[in-house]
């Protein structure tokens, strides 16, 4: 009965034409080519190895397709790690303007010795790894991100950053991406690391699996019920053997997915434990989460999107200089671990890391801290990124009536650029509006 492959069965077998055509969100010819390939070669079924192989788009080798990114890594092999700097990161202390105006606005919190990137900006001194990557051309800094009618509430702003679309019916921008790309076909295509699944990852027709550490889905199964592994094998017996997962009702589908995700995570994470232990970081810190995110991407689990959130507080109303320095150090160490883990696995080229935050902070500081603000700058990192500065830094001499920075780039332009340029998706559909895209990736 406890046939080991039992609960993986359907999820391993579903990569048929249906799956490929479901990726018709691929811009323009992408979907056409995928459908044609399916018609020509019959059904592609993957088993073991890299499940994403079934996504390969044969036309890609023939040269750049209109609307598709032309990078060296196949779209289907790419992963995105999003790092949410929750609480509102003070980006003026992260990507530091060198102007005198900045020092006037920040009498108590100005960064004294930024790492200079050019004659206009520098990085927080704790961001050594990111500075090094910037010099190597692997970091895009997108400046002036924000929104019209910004709201200074954490809740409202977070919700907007998560949703990325007006009236989004409680789906997130990445959830809608997963709906359109993998649907229900791969249970671990989207993994959220933090307290529960990030709302940014919630879709209507895909899974998001939330984990808090390298124990994966763990198991709260009491000792007196059974050994968890045996129990899950028996439990997955509730799923009818002869019905494809896509045709199951939501409850049976959830049981199949949960048993499968639990086991895949347990199997996939076991070899990573050593790597993660060697780093010796607190699993619940931002750097621990980032290391785990990278390890997951580097593993056979190969999620398309990993979302790191929830375990840090960037809401630095007071004692900012010391607190923010520690947060920056954590972020930098996390990026450093991630870079090393990805490089060791040969996965650096196919992975992009980006930061988000619900808002930046007020231009002028306030007795050693900063209040909620509006526009902010963010990082997009990885060897596939075309390094440099994008967008436009907000003018520190032209603040809005509340003393906030005026945004120069809609935050959804960043999303659109990632969706189109890295994930090969159609941003207009997923964001439900058209935003300017930036060419953030190497061509």
């Amino acid at each position: 009965m406890t046939d080991d492959t039992r609960d993986l069965r359907d999820l391993d077998h579903v990569a048929t034409c249906g799956l490929v055509t479901r990726r018709n969100f691929l811009a323009g010819m992408g979907s056409f080519v995928a459908v044609m390939a399916c018609a020509g070669t019959g059904i592609a079924v993957f088993k073991g190895g890299n499940p994403d192989a079934a996504y390969a788009i044969p036309g890609a080798a023939a040269g750049p397709l209109p609307g598709l990114p032309r990078g060296g890594v196949d779209v289907a092999d790419r992963s995105l790690i999003v790092v949410e700097l929750g609480g509102g990161n003070d980006s003026l202390s992260t990507i530091v303007p060198l102007s005198g105006r900045y020092r006037d606005l920040r009498p108590t919190t100005a960064i004294e010795d930024p790492r200079l990137l050019d004659d206009e900006i520098g990085l927080h001194p704790a961001l050594g790894t990111i500075a090094q990557m910037y010099d190597a051309g692997e970091v895009a800094i997108v400046e002036g991100l924000g929104m019209a009618k910004a709201d200074l509430s954490h809740f409202v702003s977070m919700r907007r950053w998560w949703d990325g679309a007006p009236e989004s019916d409680n789906t997130g921008w990445l959830g809608r991406y997963l709906d359109a790309s993998v649907g229900y076909e791969r249970v671990l295509a989207g993994i959220s690391i933090g307290p529960g699944p990030s709302p940014a990852m919630l879709g209507r027709a895909s899974y998001v699996v939330g984990i808090s550490d390298a124990s994966g889905l763990g198991s709260g199964i009491p000792w007196w019920v059974d050994d968890p592994r045996d129990f899950l094998g028996i439990w997955s017996g509730f799923v009818p053997a002869d019905v494809p997962v896509s045709e199951l009702d939501p409850v049976h589908k959830a049981i199949a997915a949960t048993a499968s995700a639990q086991r895949q995570l347990a199997d996939g994470l076991t070899p990573l434990q050593q790597t993660l232990e060697r780093i010796e970081v607190d699993a619940y810190s931002l750097e621990g989460q980032l290391a785990l995110a990278a390890a997951l991407v580097a593993s056979d689990i190969r999620p398309q999107v990993v979302y790191v959130h929830g375990n840090v507080d960037f809401d630095t109303h007071e004692d900012q200089v010391a607190r923010h320095a520690e947060l920056m150090a954590q972020l930098d160490r996390g990026i450093s671990h991630a870079r090393d883990i990805l490089a060791a696995a040969g996965a650096a080229e196919r992975t992009v890391i980006m930061t988000t935050s619900e808002f930046g902070r007020r231009a002028a500081d306030n007795e050693g801290g900063t209040d909620h603000g509006t526009a902010a700058s963010h990082f997009v990192l990885g060897p596939s990124v075309a390094g440099g500065r994008y967008g436009e830094s907000p003018d520190l001499r032209r603040l809005d009536p509340d003393g906030n920075l005026v945004h120069t780039v809609d935050y959804r332009s960043l999303y659109a650029s990632i969706l189109a340029g890295w994930l090969g998706a159609s941003p207009d559909e997923l964001l439900r509006a058209r935003y300017e895209t930036l060419d953030l990736f190497r061509t």
Binding site: H154, E167, P199, V209, G218, I221, P222, G237, D249
Partner: protein
């Protein structure tokens, strides 16, 4: 979601015995399965009439308002209020009241994630209880001017010179008329109308005093100077609306009765109300917004006892927890802190919903981490084998009677009581109410 299953349907029965129907009535009008209660109810008529107890909900033990910021008891919610409340839910006394308290609190949600003052959360819960079986109109007025709502949806920041639209938008979208019934201009006008309310906090300088001496501490206070007293064109009428006036206008709007009735219909029946049903229920409800009348109208609807209604909703973590608490004695060392961690792990902390729309519902509850994590609810109780009172039929112990052959076979295959109970808890049928 409806009761319409696709290919998996043959694994779940679609007609039900009297026992399962009684269990259905109990599951829907209470929270959990209340096995002791259900066992004494011979048929659905007896079950419905026993469950329709409209006596006023028990109020939480009285708590003194903190004198200042320093005397706030941060354990109040988790060490006192929630354990008391969960005990009420588990006990089977006034199960309908507990169902309605949960429903209204989810409809008019505030969250301790933002409202981080436990006394204000306690007040809010107390307010919901006072009106849970009374009048929705009174409830909406009371909650809209509560400190909790003023904090949660930023009403306290909404002033004539700095309008904040947060409450205005949510009160229409979620609490009353619903999406599609208003424009952005209505939101802006309603924001003006509801401006001027703040929370009465401790006085920053005068120790032991509050900012507004005439108002109760930590309550909502209306400040005419902060209020925009001009004319507002709101939902097609123009008047000098203030917050109570605007709430009245929303209560008069035909969509409010319909929208709220349809939501309670979904909660109790588990199916979407069709347009005619929503219209009929909503029109009657809007006459006086009496909760009792609406509950009776919904339970009188033939759909309530229909086959399609049985097990047509996803069982929430709260409903799972309540079922376990009702079926077995709790572990000796299970305390308020264990309760907190258990719900925290499931991202389902009472009084801490993730957003103004309340807790996740329906298929959103089926995310793998939550399903996996919910097994931990079983650790509220001891090993049934060791306890020596292992249920002969673990499915029945959890209030499940008509299950698929496959479920009965799989659960029955294992003689170890713990394993059988774990499987009954993990069965497809238990994921539904």
């Amino acid at each position: 979601m409806s009761g319409c299953w696709s290919a998996g349907s043959r694994t779940i029965p679609t007609t039900y015995s009297q026992r399962e129907r009684v269990a259905h009535v109990v599951r829907r009008l209470g929270i959990g399965a209340h096995p002791a209660l259900a066992a004494e109810l011979p048929d659905v008529a007896a079950a419905t009439s026993a469950m329709l107890d409209f006596s006023p909900p028990q109020l939480p033990p009285d708590v003194k308002a903190p004198r200042d910021w320093d005397s706030i008891d941060y354990d109040l919610v988790w060490q006192r209020l929630v354990p008391w409340w969960m005990e009420r839910i588990a006990s089977g006394r006034q199960p309908l009241a507990e169902r309605l308290v949960w429903f209204w609190q989810d409809l008019l949600a505030v969250s301790g994630e933002k409202v981080d003052n436990p006394y204000i959360l306690w007040q809010y819960h107390d307010t919901v209880r006072r009106h849970a079986l009374g009048s929705f109109a009174d409830l909406l007025h009371a909650v809209s001017t509560s400190a909790a709502m003023l904090q949660y949806l930023d009403g306290q920041q909404n002033a004539i010179d700095a309008p904040n639209e947060n409450f205005a938008r949510e009160v229409m979208e979620l609490h009353t008329i619903g999406l599609g019934e208003y424009t952005q201009a209505d939101v802006a006008e309603l924001a003006r109308a509801t401006s001027g309310w703040v929370v009465n906090y401790p006085h920053p300088e005068k120790k032991g005093r509050f900012e507004y001496r005439d108002a109760p501490p930590w309550s909502g206070v209306f400040l005419p100077d902060r209020h925009d007293a001009g004319y507002k064109s709101f939902l097609g009428t123009t008047d000098r609306y203030d917050l109570p006036g605007a709430i009245e206008r929303l209560l008069e709007h035909p969509s409010t009765g319909r929208a709220v009735a349809a939501k309670l219909y979904h909660e109790l029946v588990g199916l979407e109300a069709d347009a005619a049903t929503a219209e009929r229920l909503g029109t009657r409800f809007a006459r006086d917004y009496g909760v009792r009348g609406l509950v009776e109208d919904i339970t009188d609807d033939p759909a309530f006892l229909s086959d399609a209604a049985v097990r047509s909703r996803i069982r929430s973590p709260l409903e799972k927890a309540a079922t376990v608490m009702q079926a077995f004695p709790l572990r000796d060392d299970f305390d308020a802190t264990s309760l907190f961690w258990m719900f925290d792990k499931l991202n389902y902390l009472p009084l801490h919903p993730p957003n103004p729309a309340g807790f996740p519902k329906g298929v959103d509850l089926l995310d793998p981490a939550r399903i996996m994590g919910s097994f931990e609810l079983l650790s509220m109780v001891d090993d049934p084998e060791e306890r020596g009172d292992a249920p002969a039929d673990p499915l029945a112990a959890l209030g499940l009677f008509d299950v698929s052959e496959q479920t009965r076979e799989l659960v029955g295959r294992f003689t170890r009581p713990g394993l059988a109970l774990g499987l009954a808890f993990g069965s497809p049928e238990f994921q539904l109410v």
